[in-house]
């Protein structure tokens, strides 16, 4: 096990949550850890596109009809009194509506199996060039009228500082469970932003996640850096029917607006991390966040994924 590094340290390649602004940093790790020739379900053209943009979109990755049981179970979970009392259930700011439920693969056999869907697993392994495990899973409900947005952020920035993820070697799968369209706050990404790390200003308070999962203010890049990256890469909003898959790199900047429409925008979200990129102590110096936000992977979980992905 690598020795944990604590903030502040000269050895941290991705310093963030700082007292003073600091310029963007070029990422150190490759985007494609096995290169463009890594074997797997993604074509060379797809790998090159992922390397360039930091994400790929697959329409009809699952037939829309197959998403129905997932949506039904998502709705049941959001109404289940047992779930409502749990820490992993996050409410929308300003109301009691459920915003997110975390670690859903531990709660539900159906979601557990979905995280192990062979095509997903093999794509993650192809990009990360190693075995993988689930670092985080969640449902984002974004209910009609009440669903608030998600501020601009790199997931890696949070996972590095608050969970101790050492390197950029993780990939996220967002699976659309309802129609995502211009009116209900679709995911927006800045193509190419994954090639830079934007250090963010502001020390991380204890238990920051209780606030940040409802309304993120820390770990949000400064507007100058966002504008610069958007000038280069533009901003892309991903719309699609249920069953669409968005595969995105852990450091790709993304955000989404509030849902002002009557139509919920409910999505599933799984993060595959390389087994060679296990969590250390958080770089922000705080205690690790709960396991339902960042799994401190155990051998059993890893063996399971290895076997099924083989």
């Amino acid at each position: 096990m690598t020795v944990a590094r604590r903030f502040p340290t000269e050895h941290d390649p991705y310093p963030t949550r700082l007292d003073e602004p600091r310029a963007m940093i070029q990422r150190r790790e490759p985007v494609l850890h096995g290169g463009v020739r890594a074997p797997g379900p993604l074509s060379r053209a797809e790998l090159e596109q992922f390397e360039r943009d930091g994400f790929l979109v697959f329409e009809n990755f699952f037939p829309a009809g197959e998403m129905r049981p997932f949506l039904d179970e998502m709705r049941e979970l959001s109404r289940d009194p047992k779930m409502l009392g749990r820490r992993r259930t996050i409410r929308e700011p300003g109301c009691e509506e459920v915003r997110s439920i975390f670690a859903i693969h531990e709660i539900s056999g159906r979601f557990h199996r979905l995280t192990r869907e062979p095509r997903l697993l093999h794509m993650a392994r192809q990009i990360l060039d190693s075995d993988v495990y689930i670092h985080q899973s969640r449902i984002n409900y974004k209910p009609g009228f009440r669903g608030r947005g998600f501020n601009w952020h790199s997931d890696f920035e949070t996972w590095h500082s608050e969970d101790g993820m050492p390197r950029m070697r993780a990939v996220s799968a967002s699976i659309l469970a309802t129609d995502n369209f211009e009116l209900n706050g679709p995911l927006m990404l800045i193509p190419g932003s994954h090639r830079y790390f934007v250090p963010c200003v502001g020390r991380t308070p204890r238990d920051n996640y209780r606030q940040s999962l409802r309304d993120q203010t820390l770990g949000v890049p400064d507007e100058g850096s966002l504008a610069e990256l958007a000038r280069d890469g533009g901003v892309r909003a991903v719309k699609g029917a249920p069953g669409t898959l968005i595969l995105f790199e852990c450091n790709t900047l993304h955000a989404s607006n509030a849902n002002m429409s009557p139509y919920p925008r409910s999505n599933l979200f799984f993060v595959y991390n390389s087994v060679e990129n296990r969590l250390l102590d958080p770089y922000c110096g705080s205690a690790p966040r709960p396991d339902f936000l960042g799994a401190r992977a155990n051998a059993r979980a890893l063996r399971g994924l290895r076997r099924e992905a083989a």
Copy 2:
């Protein structure tokens, strides 16, 4: 002069800001006060569309290049220390960025002339079947990253309760000064919603406008009514280049999302009210809002518009 009616009154056809929810009310006035045969620049098909949907969109109403001086002046105004100290200048919630400036036709010769643009004036007269005057004018800046949205509302609901506008006989012109597109919070409208008045719950506090112009919570229809109207009419987001005109009925429900993009969504907004629909005392029972929000039309202003529109 009609005698002012104070809240609560049995004679108010459009009760709102109530203690208890109340069902939607069918509008009393026609949408086209002069019917579909009223003479003017709008074709019969356009008039019929306005009657059905509650709005019309004209791309390239002004050539995009002609909007440049307006945008330049809008930016100057937002940086002018004199303007920043005035009550008519409204800041974004949570920051010092300018959200809106009101009564811009009184400040600037360029904007004054634009409110008197003959095609605009004649369309307003054609719909309202009378002379008109400017009830309100404003710039909405919605700056990049910081511009917050506008909650669902009918303008008439506010103008009736807080300004004493007796009837639905006003029409708004929104003129796009920057590109409005899916990422910077374009105007969303519910087609057909202008045919119903949705009474809203919540008494109006004194000087409500100081809060409501930054973040409107009163005068927002209940989610059930919004969903019902959206089920019938859908929701339409209007995108367009600078110079696009959106003409919409005073009671059409509309909203817009926050601007999470780097690109400002800055628009002009003029309200033409019929001279036969002058403001009375506010129906909510409070003192009238300042003149920069709802003009208590004087004879001079009215004569001016009559002459130029003749």
